[in-house]
């Protein structure tokens, strides 16, 4: 047995080796096909969801919201806040630490997370860890005095900035 193996090493290539090689090659191709098919099977669904159209949530008219107030819109999963200077921001209800839902505490003037007690100020800035990033937000549009929130487009941020506010 070992003799023939030695021989085949020296000869260009034996018929058996050639066939084995072909089989192995076919096997690899089959494997790649399986991976591609399963892969596309899993990911095709994802793409369709990506190009979701904009979903607007009508919160109310500008005058419904006084300066320095927070209004909860649990159906849209956001808090609409109007800051001291009249700017609007729609904050996600999800804590940036590990995703629990925060609640607004009027007495403390803070958002508090029940899970590991992170706290955020009215603009979403972190007041108390373990959260490290400010609350995520949804873009706000004001059209003809109506405040609309684009709830299909959650945005994250590393700091709270003036540009994130929308004015009537």
């Amino acid at each position: 047995m070992s003799k023939t193996e030695n021989n085949s090493n020296k000869k260009p290539i034996s018929r058996r080796d050639f066939l084995t090689l072909v089989w192995k090659g076919l096997g690899v191709i089959a494997l790649i096909e399986v991976v591609v098919i399963i892969g596309s099977y899993f990911f095709s669904n994802k793409k369709k969801e990506k190009n979701n159209s904009v979903r607007l949530f009508e919160a109310g008219t500008v005058n419904d919201f006084k300066n320095n107030t927070v209004s909860a819109f649990m159906g849209g999963h956001f808090y609409l806040v109007r800051l001291q200077d009249g700017g609007f921001m729609a904050l996600s209800i999800r804590c940036t630490h590990l995703g629990c839902s925060i609640s607004w505490e009027d007495a403390k003037n803070q958002f508090i997370c029940p899970c590991h007690s992170s706290a955020f100020d009215i603009a979403g800035e972190v007041l108390n860890p373990p959260a490290t990033k400010p609350l995520n937000y949804y873009p706000v549009l004001i059209e003809k005095g109506i405040v609309k929130v684009d709830i299909s487009n959650l945005k994250d941020r590393n700091s709270v900035r003036k540009e994130q506010l929308i004015y009537a």
Partner: protein, 420 residues
């Protein structure tokens, strides 16, 4: 049937392998529990409906309307807990009898895969009742993924099928829990047991290796039967006394307080309270996993002895390291973040330094001093050093897990178990 099952065993076996304290029968218990989980799982599937609208109600119905419904569910619940415990203890037994080298090296890797699969099993099942407990526990654990740099978000969205838990998530978890994972674990299990036999059976101490063999039937099989009966009895008692929990239906806008990860991830969650997430959620767990995978492939100094804890010296270092790790971990939990606030002490530093690299360097420094000057690590064998590192990690992990389960109450504040 019996003779088919007997093929898992060789015909004859070394009497030293029969001693209960050699393996504590843990691998076999895990097999039994896996089978029981499969059986009760199949029963549960006849009533469970995997949609976000109906899942919760279907469990309520199971509990209240179906004869023995609650009982079957309880067995599945307690079985899953015992399966994790026995698998973990089995893993410790394999480690501490050094049964992970040479012919057994690859089986150690297979075993680790099985351990991960068992965790995934449990975690995917945790979501299925779709109650508040399930919803928020799975939320906090999956959110950890978001801290992985660059790929975290897409990975998270792939698993969740959206930005937050939804019907896609439930469906994916259901498919994993009841189709993919059972299949994978079964394949691994057959391979695992075949590998045990190929390595010549379980590891034995040298002086026992040559003794005369005895028949497996009845010597081993009868013992296994007794252990199996004890396990089944224990499971039934637990299932009769303690009901599996079920809170209100999941409410995506109202977290409960506190939200705890499933108990076997409580250690990970505890770590997250103390360190920056890059370390707590990614680097530390990955480092530990890598170390575990590497264990069979270090260049060891000696043949494995098959003795528990390697040697007398091994036993001694194990004990000292355990005590050291115990003290260090408890101090760490008590001091940070309550008393020592690195992010306040070092304002202006990014979190991964102030709450990550710096405290971890201090800890590693302490561990190094302990190894060098207390254990005199230069005089230890390679396997004794590896064992000491393993014990350090193990004890820290166990303490963190127990703290997370029993000593964290409202707002995840530290408190005594009876105040929670």
């Amino acid at each position: 049937m019996l003779s088919f099952l007997l093929h898992f065993h060789p015909k004859k076996i070394n009497p030293a392998a029969l001693k209960f304290t050699r393996t504590f029968g843990l691998g076999g218990m895990a097999v039994l529990l896996f089978v029981l989980e499969a059986l009760t799982g199949i029963l549960l599937r006849f009533y469970y409906i995997p949609t976000t609208f109906e899942a919760y109600q279907s469990i309520v119905n199971l509990n209240s309307q179906v004869l023995f419904g609650q009982f079957i569910r309880n067995i599945h619940y307690w079985g899953s807990i015992l399966l994790i415990l026995t698998t973990f203890l089995h893993f410790l037994r394999v480690f501490f009898t050094s049964a992970y080298r040479d012919a057994r090296a690859f089986n150690w890797i297979i075993g680790l895969l099985m351990l991960v699969t068992v965790f995934m099993f449990n975690f995917s099942g945790y979501l299925l009742p779709w109650d508040q407990l399930a919803y928020w526990a799975v939320t906090v654990v999956t959110n950890i993924l978001l801290y992985i740099p660059w790929v975290g978000e897409s990975f998270y969205e792939l698993i969740i099928g959206g930005k937050e838990l939804n019907s896609n998530t439930l469906h994916t978890f259901f498919a994993f829990h009841t189709a993919l994972l059972p299949f994978v674990l079964l394949l691994l299990l057959f391979y695992h047991i075949w590998k045990v036999r190929k390595a010549g059976g379980i590891i034995l101490e040298e002086q026992n290796q040559k003794s005369e063999k005895v028949d497996v039937m009845p010597h081993l099989v009868h013992k296994e039967g007794i252990v199996a009966l004890v396990i089944v009895a224990l499971l039934f008692v637990l299932a009769l006394i303690f009901d599996a929990p079920l809170l209100e239906k999941a409410n995506p806008t109202g977290s409960i307080n506190p939200v705890k990860a499933p108990w076997y991830f409580a250690g990970l969650q505890e770590l997250l309270l103390h360190f920056d997430p890059i370390f707590a959620a990614i680097l530390i767990p990955m480092g530990i996993l890598l170390f575990l995978v590497w264990i069979p492939y270090f260049n060891y100094d000696k043949e494995p002895t098959g003795k528990w804890f390697l040697s007398e010296k091994g036993k001694n270092t194990t004990l000292q390291t355990a005590i050291f790790s115990f003290i260090l971990t408890i101090l760490g939990i008590l001091l940070s973040p309550g008393f020592v606030r690195f992010e306040k002490l070092l304002p202006g530093f990014p979190g991964y330094l102030s709450n990550g690299l710096i405290p971890i360097t201090i800890m590693v420094g302490l561990v190094w001093l302990f190894f060098k000057y207390r254990l005199h690590s230069s005089k230890l064998l390679k396997e004794e050093k590896i064992q000491a590192i393993f014990v350090f990690i193990l004890v820290a992990f166990v303490i963190l897990t127990l703290t997370g389960i029993f000593f964290r109450g409202k707002n995840m504040e530290l408190m005594m178990p009876w105040n929670i």
